[in-house]
Assembly symmetry: C2
Homo-oligomer: 337 residues x 2
């Protein structure tokens, strides 16, 4: 006979104190602790010296990062895990530490301070529109911080929608942000013109990235509200990355109709989104994104593929398909005009 396990408050304690995990990782990034360890196996005293800090805090922080799984510790020597060496060492080209500025920006964090009231009233409390307000400054931080991380998913999306190499083509990148999606299409298709749409300050980041990619002569911009501004016409592809989740389904359909109208016949809408399964609890990273929309937008959500299919059909698209994207919790949903 097996006895049932005694009830445990462990998950409650761990979750209610989860802000400490976040604070510890933020401190490690701000102190550049992973860069200080580099590829060495170091004592707390050695790391403290390299970070110019007293040893007590560095030792406690390094132990905690070991408990969380960012470091290993053997015989008192700390070393980075392979993931930490790849993503959290400033000397690595894949460094993601800068994204902390976006994830922990006051605009995002403040939304979660009032989550109870948001659930009670059904909408965000800290401002009328949350992060979908015009020219919201958080999107400049997002563009700067998240661009490098989006490159594999952007290239994956470009590979899914090859353009006709025998003629000039046109790609519209909605809420272009860092511009990575449009740039990936420009790189994969030498005859494609890229048109990036976003708020003015954000487009400066996209333009700088396009220039770095050597695409300046095929890169232009449209400044303004994607729901209202003239989008141009005759596009082969309209990219809609990380945009629709901010809105309710009716507004998504309204927007997709605009997309449909500016595409050539046979042109494609390429949506990139967190797409949970129908159960809305798997996969965790995509399903959990819904809470970010609850905390930061009036009516946004993480929609299922069935919901996107429905929206696309209502907007006049056919043949919607979904595809996983590399190095990403997101999914490409591609449909044809």
């Amino acid at each position: 006979m097996s006895t049932p396990a005694a009830p445990s408050p462990q998950l409650f304690f761990e979750t209610i104190n989860a802000f400490q995990k976040c604070a510890a990782l933020k401190a490690a990034i701000e102190l550049d602790l992973f860069t200080a360890i580099g590829q060495t196996r170091s004592t707390a005293a050695e790391i403290a010296e390299r970070c110019s800090c007293p040893v007590r805090g560095i030792r406690i922080l390094s132990d905690y990062l070991t408990i969380l799984g960012f470091l290993t510790k053997e015989n008192g020597l700390y070393a980075p895990t392979p993931d930490s060496a790849f993503f959290l060492n400033r000397d690595s080209p894949a460094y993601v530490g800068a994204s902390t500025d976006f994830f922990l920006s006051s605009e995002i964090v403040d939304g979660f301070k009032h989550l109870t009231a948001t659930v009670r009233t059904g909408t965000v409390q800290h401002s009328e529109l949350g992060t979908i307000a015009p020219d919201h400054p958080v999107w400049v931080e997002f563009a700067r911080a998240m661009g490098p991380m989006m490159i594999p998913a952007a290239r994956g999306t470009a590979a899914l929608v090859p353009l006709d190499p025998s003629r000039d083509t046109k790609v519209l990148d909605i809420s272009a942000s860092h511009g990575a999606y449009g740039i990936a299409f420009g790189e994969a298709n030498p005859r494609a013109q890229i048109v990036a749409l976003d708020w003015s300050a954000v487009l400066e980041v996209a333009k700088a990235n396009a220039e770095k990619a050597g695409l300046s002569d095929r890169f232009s911009t449209i400044i303004g509200d994607a729901f209202k501004v003239d989008l141009g016409t005759d596009y082969d592809v309209v990219l809609v990355p990380n945009f629709l989740h901010h809105f309710n389904p009716a507004d998504c359909v309204r927007f997709l109709r605009r997309v449909q109208e500016v595409l050539r016949p046979g042109g494609k809408a390429a949506i990139v989104e967190f797409v949970p399964n129908d159960d809305r609890i798997t996969p965790p990273a995509a399903a959990g994104f819904s809470l970010v929309m609850l905390g930061s937008t009036p009516e946004g959500d993480a929609y299922t593929f069935a919901e996107y299919q429905q929206m696309l059909t209502e907007a006049g698209f056919s043949d919607a398909q979904q595809y996983p994207l590399p190095s990403s919790a997101e999914t490409a949903v591609i449909a044809t005009r």
Copy 2:
């Protein structure tokens, strides 16, 4: 040949966003969502009606709580896990939701806002003494919120140190807080007088709990700083629960000498503490407590058993032993004068 796994930034994303987990659980407790579900299997709409909330936020929150492991979801019906039903339903006698007020009190959370500067300078930034300042209000919240949760560990400690039933005995409870430790000794030993020491406002909570336990006639108090105030004399046991971790080792020894001086010959010091193994990374809950001391005290720490043995020996104790405690991540360390 096996290929090594591709590097993943998943742990980084999960950890940097961990504040969202904490916010979601706090919202669920404030909305009394677990009580609203009770022992039923309910749709989001049913829960929303019971909580008097619009359905969108309740649905997103319930999905997120399912992802975190607090609820189950099958065919659109949410149900509590056994642990959630036991600890998070207000109708359960084991309800721990009230402790949220302590864990997320601004005094605790603020310490983590400045963790980088704390590591850089070696000490807390938001105040000179952190939570060890005299009459710090956080300890009243702690006493109110944490008392019920401490009862199993308190009874476990009392069981480890049975007192002579044939004579009157005396127990001193240092930093008594909710009083649970002293009260457990009073309940287990009908001839024991309990003396609880803490700040004045905190002792009101302990006194109320002693009265509820029917111990008022054997319960007295000492108000003040445990390092300075007259402790009395001739104790059979001095309880030191959750106190020493706030101080550096030299101050711990200094304090344990005071304890030694007020014990009868053969009397016991019973320390209750988060005691990590020598590696300082296991077990996670005890080892991770060190970060709380980094964030909230000038020089506190989670000490290993070897360190407590050393402190106790220096203070004149012998025969230190450690014992696990029921329903707790803490350890009892018991030594003899």
